[in-house]
Amino acid sequence: MDRRGFLKTTLVAGSAALAGGDLCAQETRDPEEFVGILVDTTRCIGCRACEVACGETHDLFVPDVLNDGALEENRSTSDKQWMVVNKFETEAGEVFVKRQCMHCYQAACASACPTEAMEKTKNGPVTWHGNRCIGCRYCMASCPFDMPKFEYGEWNPKIQKCTLCFERLEAGQKPACVAACPTDALMFGTRVKNLEIARHRIYNHPDDYVHHIYGEHEVGGTGYIYLSAVPFEQLGFRTDLGTRPYPEYTKEFLYSVPMVLFGVPAFLLGLNALIGGPQPGQEKTFELEAGDDGGGDER
């Protein structure tokens, strides 16, 4: 925080000096402004209104929630559905869990993308830009939650995943799933506020929740955070992902690239000069050419 504070002060002071007081808050983006969604699985009744709303809003598959019996199977999101609700039998009875892209603080997919087609936008949602994507699927291989999905059946495939209703947020609306939720199991807000609400609930009802907020620290923090009455392993969450932000796993390698590019050519040239003498074949080059002119097409 110290360094961030320092940078912030410097940037603000600098831009104030340069632009004459035209302070741009966007330049010093603070992760505290990220928005996200709090999912309280103890409140979810499994009505899947969010699935319907998501499908309708984004022109995707709209499930027939009354008749399809989809809760009986453990589904994952797909290129047709950005979010799914699954049912888990646990020690606390039936628990319903909504799963979708977690909108990580430091998104693995966004750092993996060679063309920045996956983008962590300034206020939190991770979105995809079709005009940049080359379809390498490195985002899929990198995402710790396996959320980006690829249209394998299309000649011009898209990456499909939750966008946190980016367009609706810009229009000042809540994400479609949150707006559709009848039980306030989903709460939209800044992540900091959501965390406060989550902690508040755990504090006030210590017996109703496990004392863990999934997404607070996992993979460096995610936009979606979850509350639960049972340990998260029982709800199909991976609890072995660690708290290190995933882009940091490639940090050392990416740092070393310019170092190799500085050092190795110089080292090789030095080695070559140190060895001295003519290049291999240098002396005999001209002898050979004299007797063997005109290329090797005649054999």
């Binding site: 496990v210 004392h211 863990h212 340990p231």
Partner: protein, 45 residues
């Protein structure tokens, strides 16, 4: 769930240095094995 357990990430360092010693001993043997006896050297190059 979030209990603290003492984790020493360098627990195996001793073994690793032991491995290093093994490596050097074996490496010297490998190099000597790959270097032909000096009297035959002429035939080799």
């Amino acid at each position: 769930m979030d209990s603290f357990t003492y984790v020493n990430i360098f627990e195996t360092k001793g073994l690793e240095y032991l491995l290093l010693l093994c490596f050097w001993v074996l490496f010297v043997y490998l190099i000597r094995y790959l270097s032909p006896p000096s009297k035959n050297r002429k035939d080799w190059h």
